[in-house]
Amino acid sequence: MRKQFIALLALAAAAGTGACSGGAAGTSAQDLKGQTVEVVGPWTGDEQKNFEKVLAEFTSKTGAEVKYTPAGDELPTVLQTRISGGTPPNVALIAQPGLVAQFAKANALKPVNADVEKAVTDHNAAVWKKLGSVDGKLYGFTFKTANKSAFWYSEKAFKQVGATPPATWDDLVKTSKAISETGLAAVAVGGADGWTLTDWFENVYLRTAGPENYDKLAKHEIPWTDPSVRKALEELAKLWGEPTLVAGGALQTEFPKSVINVFGEPPTAAMVFEADFVASVISTNTKAKVGQDAKFFPFPSVAGSKDAVVAGGDMAVQFKDDKATTELMKFLASPESGQIWAGLGGFLSPNKDIPSSAYPDDVTKDLAKRVVDAGDNVRFDMSDLAPAAFGGTKGAGEWKDLQDFLADPKNVDGIMQRLEANAVKAYGK
């Protein structure tokens, strides 16, 4: 035990001198001893274990005790309750930027300290800083991100028609038609879950309408009846509108099932579109090997658009501004913390100073690189930016409207009107 402790101490000292030269000038090892920091985050299971390893590194560096409370999907409710009760945690990781803005406006959050702000500016593209700012003040930064612009495909199905990963949307439709000639549907769509459909739409919209319009639509500054929305829906209909291209029963297929439909036995489709976490669904539910039988290509360019990525992510924010809390924020903003989790797998970071060698395999490396390379063309998941009544409710709002669109892709006008009506109600303007 004692030996271990000494070893840890030595490690901490080494790490401390090595990587933390950027911000923590005054923090030598162990000088926060006796202080406790509480972190609330969404991660449970394996992700919790991995995050706790990141926190353990902080403890060994500074001596501050860190207590992690997993809150799962109920995180907003948990935080809301604790803030009302006057006992907020020191730090929270929040997946909904809208919630961060809400807390910031209610003065529940503390703006980050100048050192943290500098770290955020140094290590990330400007778009991430903008995402964490409310009324010109920086409240947080994205610690863990999800790359929601990936098409995962079955190598076997592609080989059968000699197809290669398409680079443009038209190529994708062409490849899809070739695949459908072999009797296999081209794409599996997890339409029973509305959020997969909003991700489809967001990726096409970001490409056809551009990042500026994307920002406007996310704030509902342009209506959903805008011609740019029509264009995106029409592009989408090129794929969704062909019954031979989309695997049957899409509206009854939940997201994990749609992945199994492609990589399980027997497959019913050749591709599935979704985020990087498809990889973990593949490895837990099917025999296919990621990187070998299951590969991905980035969401293709539509009408000559530049590389762009729709991302999700968990933003670190602080409710208190004591020294230990600030040190932890500084640590989380540094490449060092992300590097630990990156090595453990299942983690992507927008932090461009995490070397790509930190990621465990080629697929993850590539997924992370695309987020970093897209630079300021990264946009946060629009439905997560929208009020929950519109962008986050089962069987209502955008989810339901896009499900209806998947059921009847010809009805572009009707869907646009319904989207606009629901948006007006939810945004209250």
Partner: protein, 431 residues
Amino acid sequence: MRLRTNVDAAPGRSPRQAIPFLLPALVVLAALVLYPLVYSLIRSFFDARGDEFVGLSNYVDTFTDPRTLTAFRNNVIWVVVAPAAVTGLGLIFAVLTERIRWATAFRLVLFMPMAISLFASGIIFRLVYEEDPNQGIVNAAAVGVHDVFSPASQYPGARPREGYAATEAGFTAARPSRAGEVITLPLIGFSPQDVPAQALPASVPSAGDGELRGVVWLDVSVGGKAGSVDPTERGLPGVAVEAVREGKVVARTTTGDDGRFTFPDLARGEVVVRLPSSNFTLPFRGLTWLGPSLITPVIISSWIWIMTGFAITFIAAGLSAIPRDALEAARVDGATEWQVFRRVTIPLLSPVLLVVFVTLVINVLKIFELVFVIAPGSVQEEANVLALQMWQVSFGTGGDQGAGSALAVILFLLVAPAMLFNIRRFRRERS
């Protein structure tokens, strides 16, 4: 009433004496029932944030919101169908199991679903009604029965590459042909791995005098040219081909192992080649149980499965309390078993049946978990019920607890008459 000096002799007569004893229960009741009730009522007159009085506007919104109206409609369907079905089934099973030997064991089995949480039952039925016949047992059974009577076609989903119009009878050539010509008929939409083993590499036959010849093959291969027979592509054996003249089939043949077919003696004049749809009918995959049209009946059926045991237990208890001599007397008087059941058993049981029915009505109005679990997100709107709508409005969608409270009050008002009825009944029985 005059108080006696010795209070202990008549306990409960003095309110002053009673209050201290009732107080703990009253406090608990007030804190857990009365306060939430009153607070919900007050809350329902305020807006989403809870600080602006909006009068009845939450109620107006509720009654004009299409989602809530669907929920109302579904609740009506539930109340009309489900409690009556469960009470009826309960009665039938209770009467039938009374006569058999292993009655208790049988009832135990029927009662077992009650021991499973509604949530878990929901997950079970979500799988039972899954659309994919490889997973959903209902569709697996439907497909099994269907395939016994009409077996699947040989090339489900295959289709000609181009130049053929899909009609009811099959794929009909756009251009007519005549004897002496050679027809190449490339099919797509079928996996090369599923081609029968006896299939031979395809090749185009030479033209024959007075004969119409052709080849049907699977035009799918890596690097193959669309519409031409490539070396690795094989013919499709056993495809029925028809020659049609003026709407009538004049000749019929099937392809050989190399995919070739020949119409030997067609008279002069043009014919249209057609591939009958029986070649390509898609296999029957069962019904979309969890789709928008069937979802409410499906959820009701699972609720019936769960609650029937409850009804049986109560009705069986009522049955055993019926005086045997009444039944015997009827039988001695020459009544048939049906008459005994109809004229004696049911009237004597009616108080129990009524209590069971009303309890089920209350239960049905509050139904929540089953709908939440069984209905996939895409049809949750169609399957919606009031309790689920209340939860979604209050907590699911940005938290409008004002509108949610309004729904809660409406739900309470709907349940209240049934509750009152039950309470009065119990009271009458006791007196």
